[in-house]
């Protein structure tokens, strides 16, 4: 299982968001999921990917803290520590 560095998590999440259909040019730490048209179904998939890759099971409370891409990276890094 890879180490959940901020850089590594960020790269994995961006890859997933592009696969979901988000515009790569719009993705940044500050971009909100709403602005990227990433909805609750996408976030469940994102959580599944995080669990597969890092073994981190995100709770509903974790998910609620994630409104931007940067938030999601922070949560994953924090929970895997």
């Amino acid at each position: 299982m890879p180490t959940a560095t901020r850089e590594d998590v960020s790269q994995r999440l961006v890859e997933a968001l592009v696969d979901f259909g988000a515009d790569p040019g719009e993705i940044s730490d500050d971009a909100t999921f709403e602005a990227l048209d990433v909805d609750s179904l996408d976030l469940v998939e994102l959580a599944q990917i995080v669990e597969d890759v890092y073994g981190v099971e995100l709770s509903t409370a974790d998910m609620k803290r994630m409104s931007t891409v940067g938030d999601a990276v922070d949560v994953v890094v924090e929970r895997s520590g």
């Binding site: 696969d19 979901f20 259909g21 988000a22 048209d37 179904l41 469940v44 998939e45 599944q48 669990e51 597969d52």
Partner: protein, 399 residues
Amino acid sequence: MTRTVVITGLGAVTPLGVGAEPLFERWAAGECGIAEGLGRCADFDPVALLDRKLARRSDRFTQLALVAAAEALEQAGWGGGAPVAPERAGCVIGTGIGGIGTIESQLDVLRERGAGAVSPLGIPLLMANAASGAVAMRHGLKGQCYGTVSACAAGAHAIGAGLRMVQHGDADACVVGGAESALTPLAAAAFASMAATSPTGVSRPFDARRDGFVMGEGAGALVLEEESAARRRGATALATVAGYGATADAHHLTAPEPSGDGAARAMRVALADAGREPADVDYVNAHGTSTPLNDRAETEAIKTVLGDRARGVPVSSTKSAIGHLLGAAGAVEAVATAIALRRRSAPPTVGWSERDEGLDLDYVPDVARALERDGGPAVALSNSFGFGGHNAVLCLEAA
């Protein structure tokens, strides 16, 4: 007094290519899109034709419906915006099975990786109403919207439902059609297990050598509009949906009633609904599956309805060129029938050459036949019948 409903746009994705024109042109030229015993839409690239997010959020049957509907709406002149209020535009799209590809792949995920790994997109992709919901969402159709599920009659039932919706003023326009993508291991094994599919992989409707249907995938879509409003805005009426008849055999889970009684009643109801007589019929686009039972029962039904004229009316099956598109079949075949009326040409039953005893109609062998008519618009019936004993027949008239 009900309102008159015309077709203003046609779209299709079939094993003969992406588009209604390739379907008709290639079928009329006697071409067949079946390869290695399957009618696959090999030219269909969902990511190129839809955006990535939409493609990813749609089972293949919905992807096919989205592309067919977009073509139909473009032809209808809706590209720059709908000519009717969104609340007055409906959407009904049928399917036989729905997202069986998603069901099979997610079942693999469940068994191999557990419940937590099953996709949150599983249900929205597999649900049989997904195509109608996706088309309505993409084009902002906010009137009645649902799917019809009646096996291989689903596409025709969808058109009939949309016809009634516009006729009775529940909507001023309705996008209708059918979509299917069931070329999956489970569907193939299950149809083969009941000996419904052709072991030789050849679709030969009405021919003595026919031995079952060939599975195909695709979608057909039509834009139905109230005639006077369509004409006022300068839309071209491609054909009129003049009548619709639907019945049940109430006989057997899969076998047609041998005399074709249920099918014949649906044809009669469709003609009466159109205010037409059997003598008015210029062409029958048959259900013609290439199964021993269907083609015999359907021949009986046509003879029952058309009587002495039956042998003089061209009867051909689109399935000879693309295989059996199940829940999409009725819609794709209505698209082909509308173009046949417009071109006054009945495409052939491709590959028909050996007459079977009792199957003695004119199945249009070899080459397309000009539809002759002295005065008045040409009239055609498009037949669709499904497992479960569902019969749905549309009566189309040249506009």
